[in-house]
Symmetry: C2
Subunit: 323 residues, 2 copies
């Protein structure tokens, strides 16, 4: 991939899939008779909670790390991350036997911090603001010479995340709709590019918390409108779009819908109870969008992307009052 | 199956599989690189938490209900159950379009009671003692003419549960060991008969809570030694062996091991965190036995049966202090 390329293509996503497929899990697509009955639709859940490191982020990080030239890779890689991208980058770096430096907000979930460390990544703590993250990351890169791998605003990362849709559509070729959570937009942009190239008739809908609705506002305004003070338990979705992800989302995404915090809790709990799988709040927004009737589902075949399963079991949202 | 048969055979298990296979899920066998590294062994988890109704009980109940003659089935079926068998029986009865009466202790987990009702079963509450359950069940049968389907001490049920091992061994033919939770013994007896008939070299180990260790004591004593006052969070394993299950366990099971309550919590939490699946405490005892080094695992291929995933998310064992 040349550094001058600025448009994501199906070809880049397919190249990413070739590059990473033996280094990640091909995650299952699960179904639930009970949830189908409740929705009056056929739901296909792409279970990235079963991905290496417990989140889809393994795809983009692995593609980025293995796209680097030996010279680029020499001093390792660095990023800032609320957690899942950091762990994914640490894992990919370990596979390539280079160091990974991960700037993380001090209030990140314990399990996410531990995931980075389990893969041999070096956690660099910072204040929980975008500005602090970026300044700390700049300093780390200046000190170490590590190569920046942005969590989402990077075509190599976006192409890697898009492989989720390649696999989902291979498993269920005749989907009508894909509903995909959107935070920084790496996943949604990759999924939209891949899905629309495979089948232009597939409707691609992004879903985000109402308390971090920068994607909906940006798409409406026609320019990036960042979330200044995002308020949501979906910690993976607090980030705002980047210029590269926004460009692809403008081109390829049909709609962005928002969901309430209560819907996220209810959706997450229902998926745990009915499907018997552990997902994090960010994963639940796609199903929450259905439950809020924000997506036209009746009689359709929908692909829902469950983005990850890394959650602190001591702080579950339905036990908040007890904490 | 004739009512006079009293020995469980591979043939009965295979007949059960033919009878139920289109009415249940073929559950996945999951693996975890992380748990393999921790165990120094290759672990294959048979995920009955993904079974219809969220537990392996669908197998035995469905086999029993569809083994009934039209005359036997006419007035429906009845049972007592801590929950999973009751829901499974309700579901099987609904498939056959006959009523199901389920006697349940008043302190049964909410999700288990709701599962019975969701499948159209009629819950009959009783005191949480074995005596109260049996007396209430006798009354229900006298009143309705329903056919008793015992939760475990019934060859049709045992044969159905044994289909778990048929599928596990089809997926992983060269297992060295199967570790299986034991409560009333329906699953363990069925699994042991099927596994030993398929491959006599497979070691079959039962695992139970130390606070409900009637199977270990019974095997040692050579006669059934029931648990008088079982104390364990693994609510599916509080029951004691029946004469039919004990006979098969004596013939075919190599060892019964016990685990502490703390090991059950730790095992359950680790499986949730690492494998991203929801399992109930009873499911965790097989892995807990490995974690306590009660099973010789090093370098071996082990099948672990995860029995179910029905748990009240408001009362997780690691949040006990907060309840």
């Amino acid at each position: 991939m040349s550094a001058t390329e600025s448009v994501l293509t199906l070809e880049l996503v397919l190249q990413a899939h070739q590059r990473i497929r033996d280094r990640i899990n091909r995650t299952p697509v699960m179904t639930s008779h009970t949830l189908d009955e409740l929705a009056g639709a056929s739901l296909f859940f792409k279970c990235e909670n079963f991905q290496k490191g417990g989140a889809f982020k393994a795809r983009g990080a692995t593609n980025a790390v293995f796209s680097l030239s030996p010279a680029q890779a020499r001093n390792g890689v660095a990023t800032h991350s609320s957690g899942n991208h950091g762990a994914a980058l640490a894992r990919a770096a370990r596979l390539r036997e280079i160091p990974a430096f991960v700037v993380m907000p001090a209030n990140a979930a314990r399990v996410k911090r531990e995931s980075v460390e389990r893969y041999g990544g070096r956690v660099v703590p910072c204040e929980p603001t975008l500005q602090a993250r970026e300044q700390t990351l700049e300093r780390v890169i200046a000190d170490t010479g590590a190569c920046l791998i942005h969590p989402y605003n990077d075509l190599r990362v976006m192409a890697g995340q898009g492989t989720t849709a390649i696999e989902l559509i291979e498993t269920v070729p005749d989907l009508d709709v894909i509903v995909c959570p959107v935070g920084g937009g790496g996943l949604l942009s990759g999924v939209a590019v891949a899905a629309k190239a495979r089948n232009p008739a597939i409707r691609v809908v992004g879903a985000e918390p109402a308390g971090a609705d920068d994607a909906a506002r940006s798409l409406k305004a026609g320019r990036i409108v960042p979330s200044i003070d995002p308020r949501t338990m979906a910690d993976g979705l607090r980030t705002s779009l980047g210029e590269k992800t926004f460009a692809e989302i403008q081109r390829h995404v049909d709609d962005i819908v928002t969901v309430s915090e209560q819907s996220i809790v209810d959706a997450m709990r229902r998926i745990w109870e009915v499907m018997k799988i552990v997902i994090e709040p960010s994963s639940a927004v796609a199903y929450a969008a259905l439950a809020e009737a924000k997506v036209d589902a009746a009689g359709k075949k929908l692909g829902l992307i469950l983005t990850g399963g890394n959650i602190d079991l001591d702080h579950l949202p339905w036990n908040r009052r007890a904490v």
